[in-house]
C-alpha cells in the first residue's frame, strides 16, 4: 500500500486516482481468468454471457470423457517427468555455474537461460527439426525433453539466486571440520538451497503444465496434453467443456502458487 504523505483537496484526488488506476490494472489482469469460473457452471450451449442456469453438466462431461481425462493424465505425467529432470539438471548446472574454476560462466549461463527468453514458436520450430532427425517427434520422451529444456532456466535462476545468498564461509567451515565436498553438498548446500530448488521445481511444473506451442509442433496424435486438447476444442468444437477444463487448470495454478508462497515463507 502506498501512503500519500500529503493532505488537502489535491491530495485527496491524488489518492483517488491512485486507487482507481490500481484497481483497473488488477481487473485487467484478473477478469479474463475469473470470468471463466461462472461460465463453466452455466447451462448455455455457447460460451457467452449472460449466465444461464447453474449446471455441473460440463464437469460431468469432462470427467466422463476418456479423452479429457487421458489428456489430464498425460499433462501431469509429462509435467512430473520434466520437472524431475529439470530440477536435477538445472540444479547441477546452477552448482557448476557457481564453481570458481568454471570457465566461460557468463556465456554458458546465457545459453542455458535462452529458452526462457526466445519466443516459444522459434523454440518449437527449431526443436521440430532437431527432434525429427533424432526420431523424437511424436513421442512422450520428445515432449518430456522439450518441456525440460523450457523448464531448466527457471530452476537455474531460482537455485542460482539461492546459491548466491549462500556464504562461501559456510562451505569453508564445513570443509575445515572434515566434510568432503560431497558431504558439504549433502549436509550444507542442498538443505540451504532447497527453497530455490522447490520454487524452481514449481515453476518448471507450471511451465510444462500449460505449455502448448512447442507441444503443437512436436506431439503426435497420441501425445494429447490438456492445453493441446483445449486448444483443439477451442478451434473445432467450441464446447463449454473447455471452460470446465480451464477452471480445473486455474485451480491447479492457484494451488501451485499457494504452495510456493507458503514454502518461500518458511
Amino acid at each position: 500500500m502506498i501512503r500519500n504523505p500529503n493532505r488537502g483537496r489535491l491530495a485527496w484526488f491524488g489518492n483517488l486516482g491512485l486507487s482507481l488506476s490500481g484497481w483497473l490494472v488488477l481487473a485487467f489482469l484478473l477478469l479474463p481468468i475469473l470470468v471463466v469460473l461462472p461460465l463453466s457452471f452455466s447451462d448455455s450451449r455457447y460460451m457467452s454471457l449472460p449466465l444461464g442456469n447453474f449446471t455441473l453438466h460440463w464437469y460431468e462431461e469432462f470427467f466422463g470423457s476418456a479423452q479429457w481425462l487421458g489428456a489430464l493424465f498425460n499433462s501431469f505425467a509429462i509435467a512430473v517427468a520434466s520437472t524431475v529432470l529439470a530440477v536435477v539438471l538445472g540444479g547441477l548446472a546452477a552448482l557448476g555455474l557457481r564453481h570458481p574454476a568454471m570457465p566461460g560462466k557468463r556465456l554458458i549461463e546465457v545459453l542455458l537461460i535462452a529458452p526462457m527468453i526466445v519466443p516459444a514458436v522459434i523454440v518449437g520450430v527449431g526443436m521440430y527439426f532437431v527432434f525429427a532427425n533424432a526420431g523424437l517427434t511424436r513421442s512422450y520422451l520428445g515432449l518430456i525433453l522439450a518441456h525440460t529444456t523450457l523448464a531448466v532456466p527457471f530452476v537455474i535462476v531460482n537455485v542460482g539466486s539461492a546459491l548466491g545468498g549462500l556464504n562461501q564461509r559456510l562451505l569453508w567451515a564445513a570443509a575445515s571440520m572434515g566434510a568432503t565436498p560431497w558431504m558439504t553438498l549433502r549436509k550444507v548446500t542442498l538443505p540451504l538451497v532447497s527453497p530455490g530448488l522447490i520454487s524452481g521445481g514449481l515453476f518448471a511444473f507450471a511451465t510444462s503444465l500449460d505449455e502448448v506451442v512447442v507441444t503443437l509442433f512436436l506431439a503426435g496424435p497420441d501425445q494429447r496434453t490438456l492445453p493441446r486438447e483445449m486448444f483443439t476444442t477451442a478451434r473445432e468444437a467450441l464446447s463449454p467443456v473447455l471452460l470446465s477444463a480451464a477452471t480445473i487448470m486455474v485451480l491447479f495454478a492457484t494451488l501451485l502458487l499457494l504452495v510456493s508462497r507458503s514454502l518461500s515463507k518458511r
Binding site: 564461509r169 564445513a174 570443509a175
Partner: protein, 384 residues
Amino acid sequence: MIAQDLRPLPKAAMNIESDASDPLADAPLLVRFEEVCKTYDERSWVVDNLHLDIRQGEFLSLLGPSGSGKTTTLMMLAGFDAPDRGRILMDGADISRLPAYRRDMGVVFQSYALFPHMSVAQNVAFPLNLRKVPAAETRERVREALALARLEGFEDRQPGQLSGGQQQRVALARALVYRPRMLLMDEPLGALDKALREHMQLELKAIHKQLGITFIYVTHDQDEAMTLSDRVAVFNEGRIAQIAAPQTLYNRPATRFVANFLGETNLLEGRVISNAGGFATLRLEEDGSLHHARCADTTLAAGDSAALAIRPENLRLASGDEPAVAARVIDSIFHGAHCRLRLHMAGGSELSMTYNPGSLGRPAPLPGEAVILGVPPQLAMILR
C-alpha cells in the same frame, strides 16, 4: 637455516627480557611456510616470499593493516587457498595442496559461519557426526564443548536467535569439539562491541591455556594481538616485518613500520655516525645533536640515513647528562591516568610525550613553555 632468517634480531643484540618473555622458544615446530607467494591479479604479491615457523602449542597472532597478507596466509594454512609458489609444511610433510577437509584444523570466522538450518547442538555435533562418533559420546562431547564456551542451556536454540557474542562462542565450540591440531581464527571478535571483545579475549586466552593446542589469530587490532599472544607476526605488504613476543615487539621494534603500528613512536630523522656492539650514534637533522641509542640493525653503517625512535612515555622532562632535544610545548592534554604533551622542535618536527601527573616531580609545563627532553639511550632505538 630459514629459522635463522626469521629471527628478526641477532640474539646477541637482544635484551635478556625478550628471551624471558618467549617461553616457547624451544617448543617443537608444527608448521613452516617456505618462500610462500600468492597473487590474485598476477601483478602484485599479496603474500611475498613468506617465511613463518609456527610452534606447537603457541598462541600466534598475525597482525597487520588490511591488505598486508595476514588473512591470505591464514586461508592458505586452512587450505581454502593454495600458494602460487613455495611450500607449507606440517610435521615436515608438504600440505600445500592437501584439501582443507584433510588438514584437521578448526577455523573460526568473523562472520561466525554457523549453519542456519541447524540448532546450536546440531552445529557443534556436525564435525563429530562426520567422524561417525557414537551418539552417546557425541552428546557428551557436545555438552563439554558448550560448557567450555559457557553456552550451557543453549543447545536447542537456532543460531539466528543468539547475539553476536553467543554465536561466536558456538563457532568456537564447534571448531574445538573435534580436538583439531590447530585453531585458526580470522578476526573472530571484529564484529563485537568493545566490552564484549575484551571479555572474549580473556576467555580465549583461558581456553588456549586449558587446551594447549596451537592458536593462530588474525587481527588488525594491536591491543588484541598484544593481550592474547605468545608471539605476534607483524605483516606489512605481504611480508613479515617482525615476529616476536609482544614485549619484544613493543620495546625492540625492528623497523619503523613496527614501531608505528604497535603503539605510538616519535621518529626523528638523522644520519648514522657509528654503529657497533648493539649501539649506534646518530646526528639529528633537526638540530645536529648527537644521540647514542640501541641499534639492532647491523647493516646500518656510518653515513646511512636512519631515525631515532622513542616512545612518548620514554621521553623525560629535564635531564642530567643524557642526550636531549629542545622543544616547545604546543598543547597539554589530560587523559586521566596520564597526561600528554604535544611539542614542536625548532625545525618543525613534532613530538609527543606522555607522563604520569603524580610522578613528574615539578610543575606541569604549560603551552608555550620551552623544555629540554631527555632521550635515554637504553630506551631509544635507531631504526633504518
